[in-house]
Amino acid sequence: MEGIGIDTISLPLVDYEVTNTIFNIWIIMAFLVVMAVVVRVKLTRVPGKLQLVAEMVVEGSQWLVDNTMGEDKRGFAPYTMTLALFLVFANLSGLVALRQPTADLNVTFALALITFFLVHYHGLKAKGGLGYLKSYFEPLAFMFPINVVSEIALPVSLSFRLFGNMLGSVIIMALLYSFAPVIIPLIGHAYFDIFAGLIQTFIFVMLTLTFITLKME
């Protein structure tokens, strides 16, 4: 069946092959960078339409961080916004016939690893070395192995959740297109790309924020 597997693309000019998911990530990155530059250059005191949308995104991420982590941790808002914007465009890229980069385990695991390192870096910073080590022996000392396993399970379950959901929608959409190529796939796009994509973005971002907050307390 077409469109399920991950293909390789050989780049022009340089003698190098990349997967199509990496290539799609580059497209999304280029789009986001260009949009950021355009909004920055046109910044005015009375906002235009584009600036209004950008301000809404910034305020939305600040609101989310304030509400889930507390107002003193507003420093996480830029990363939250970056992650959310990337995931939204990555999950919705199926609408413009790109293969969703988030349906590739390498991509989701990389994102989950960033979360993993953020959690432990900020845990160490907030608690200090001894307090951080002590948290592994709570509530009881013999819980140490269980705590370690649950820390390792965090990036695994986080990455597989996004990957499994997006791969499910990639497979279902490929099947729908092979059964009924007109009109019916539109319904599938509405549920599997837009609804599932946005919900999974929200969940990935929220879980990242929640895990960081839990480790810092």
């Binding site: 889930t68 959901n165 497979i171 279902i172 929220m206 879980l207």
Partner: protein
Amino acid sequence: MELIWEFLQTFELELLMEWFDQFEPRDLVLAASGLAAGIAMIAGIGPGIGMGMAAGMAANAAGRAPREMRGVTLVMLMGQAMAATAGIFSLVMGLLILYNNPLTEKGDTVSWAILVASTLGAGVAIIGATGQGIGQGYAAGKGAEGVGARPKWHPVIVRTMLLGQAVAQTTGIYALIIGLLLLFANPFIS
């Protein structure tokens, strides 16, 4: 051990294996695919129970606070859509086994027993999504009840419900991963 072996021999397993051997390996894997696709859909029980439970709790909540019907219905639908992912996982697995089972082409190089068992295993694995559907549906119902009782905290309730449902989804995802591994990246075939 001896006793068990003797007991097993009374079934004349060798005869059974010989009987299987008369078929083409491809036919055996196709037969197993049909069985596995049916087995995979057993996981549809979970989301069915879960979504029904959510609907019942939401109806109760709407009856108690008729003015909040719109919010209650919205939360119920959102939670049910999350609970439906278990059914979608089993549907994905069943359709893949039916239409895109790569194991049917491997009959010349690998023993048919491994292929048949892997196909059946992929179908059986996804039954694990049953629990996910029930759990997420329960969460959806409780969320709807919460919104009916305290509509002011609608955003907080929805956020917590979605987060909890996402974590409840983990085991279903693991079941899907094992099923996909058995079909597409089987360690017994290489």
